[in-house]
Amino acid sequence: MQTLISFHSTHAAMEAELVGEEAGIPCRLVPLPPAIDAGCGLVLLCDSDVSGSIIGLLAARHVPLDGVYDGRSGAWHRRTGS
């Protein structure tokens, strides 16, 4: 299972990737899949089992998210509450 984190701004997306890299959490920016409705064309892709860690870090570093989606291969489901 993988997780996509979307943002309102590419700058927030890149800051999120830097935060993840610094924490040693494997993640990378990928183009926004068409199934996800977000203004920013980049989303952060990571394994779902580390998504909680990176979401917590982003909150602590004041990096605002748009949404969190779980799934794989084009079938993404918005996480409840995100």
């Binding site: 309102h8 701004s9 590419t10 700058h11 927030a12 890149m14 800051e15 990737e17 830097l18 920016l29 990928v30 183009p31 203004g39 920013c40 064309g41 980049l42 570093r61 004041h62 990096v63 605002p64």
Partner: protein, 378 residues
């Protein structure tokens, strides 16, 4: 050539700055925010690293930093983007035209603008500012270091005052930034800080920015491509995107980051001490030269700027003689600070401004004093 025009721009920069700019040009960087391939992402990462470096220097979070092409552009975005005709703004004679002209533009649209006078010593005191804040004042637009005299305000106290009175604070840090540490503030009021990269942050020209502390709502002043929300008719309102229409200056931002890294490694306190030493030596030497008049700058912690005249000689003639006969670069005239020159009584004569860099040395200061001494006896 001896360069004493740091307040206009820094000519001597750490070599790492040019190396970083060159890497930005030859390193295969793409257009940030405009794709997910490596060239675009690498460029976006460089922008993010520059954002982090600026945030660290000013005590902000990275996403509170927007990049512009200079402080003038940032001040236009702050003043026209945050203020409305319902605002009442107080400013001081220290303000540069980069602040004043956008304020005047808003005044012409109906916004109220108050300009406090300098005190009898030519300074801008906390008490004076407090005296001129009206009950309906909503914002303070402030240059905390005069680009004419080097005089400063008590910035930390003014920040606290704005917090107490819930005033929006618009700061022009073009002169201050890099010449001394930023004050340590735990609880900023709503504040918009404009900075430029090419003066005492030692970056290249063409980069600057606006720092938004307290999520001040901004209307976009320049709209266009953002790389996001492409089907919306309006430019994104989220910060920093609201200030960053179009392609940024990636090589310039890489140079700015290198300048900030040099500044951090050198130490803002060490930089301030060196600048104070150079300024102090110069001012002490000026006191021995006949006909020299020094304007303001009597504070012990004045910034690295000294404005003078020699008798009745037009400032343009003195500045030209310094350069043509002695190879000393200064700036004459009004320095884009009309209110300050009116307050000093130098509208006609102007002043000759000497402004110092960390890379200046005592020998250069002494050369300037010898040159002025020679010119004073001609």
């Amino acid at each position: 050539m001896i360069y004493f025009d740091q307040s206009a721009t820094s000519v001597h920069k750490p070599p790492e700055v040019a190396e970083a700019v060159a890497l930005g040009l030859r390193g295969g960087y793409g257009n940030p925010s405009r794709g997910a391939h490596d060239p675009a992402l690498h460029a976006l990462q460089e922008v993010a690293k520059a954002r982090r470096a600026v945030a660290a220097y000013f005590g902000a979070s990275p996403l509170e930093v927007a990049f512009t092409f200079n402080a003038t552009m940032a001040l236009n975005m702050a003043i026209k983007g945050a203020l409305t005709t319902g605002d009442c703004v107080l400013t001081t004679p220290y303000s540069h035209n980069a602040m004043l002209r956008p304020l005047y533009e808003m005044q012409d649209r109906g916004m109220r603008l108050d300009i406090m006078p300098l005190d009898q010593q030519g300074g801008c005191t906390l008490a004076g500012i407090m005296q001129h804040i009206r009950p309906d004042t909503t914002a303070l637009a402030l240059n905390p270091m005069s680009n004419v005299t080097g005089d400063t305000v008590l910035l930390a106290e003014i920040i606290a005052l704005c917090r107490q009175r819930d005033l929006l604070l618009i700061l022009d840090m073009a002169q201050w930034a890099g010449t001394r540490p930023m004050p340590h503030i735990d609880n900023w009021p709503r504040t918009l800080i404009a900075f430029t990269g090419h003066k005492s942050l030692y970056g290249p020209q063409g980069i600057g920015g606006l720092i938004n502390l307290g999520q001040v709502p901004l209307s976009p002043i320049i709209t266009g491509g953002s790389g996001t929300h492409s089907f919306d008719r309006q430019h994104p309102g989220v910060f920093p995107d609201v200030c960053e229409a179009g392609t940024p200056n990636v090589p310039g931002l890489m140079g700015l980051r290198a300048g900030l890294q040099w500044l951090t490694e050198t130490g803002p306190d060490a930089v301030q001490q060196r600048l104070a030493m150079l300024r102090g030596r110069f001012v002490a030497g000026l006191a021995q030269i006949p006909q020299v008049k020094v304007y303001g700058g009597e504070q012990a912690d004045a910034g690295p700027v000294v404005s003078i005249n020699l008798g009745d000689m037009p400032s343009s003639s003195l500045s030209d003689a310094l350069y043509q006969k002695h190879g000393i670069a200064t700036r004459s005239g009004a320095h884009c600070a009309p209110l300050m020159h009116r307050a000093l009584g130098t509208v006609q004569q102007g002043t000759v401004r000497f402004s110092f860099s960390y890379f200046n040395c005592i020998e250069e200061v002494d050369c300037a004093l010898e040159a002025l001494d020679a010119l004073s006896t001609q």
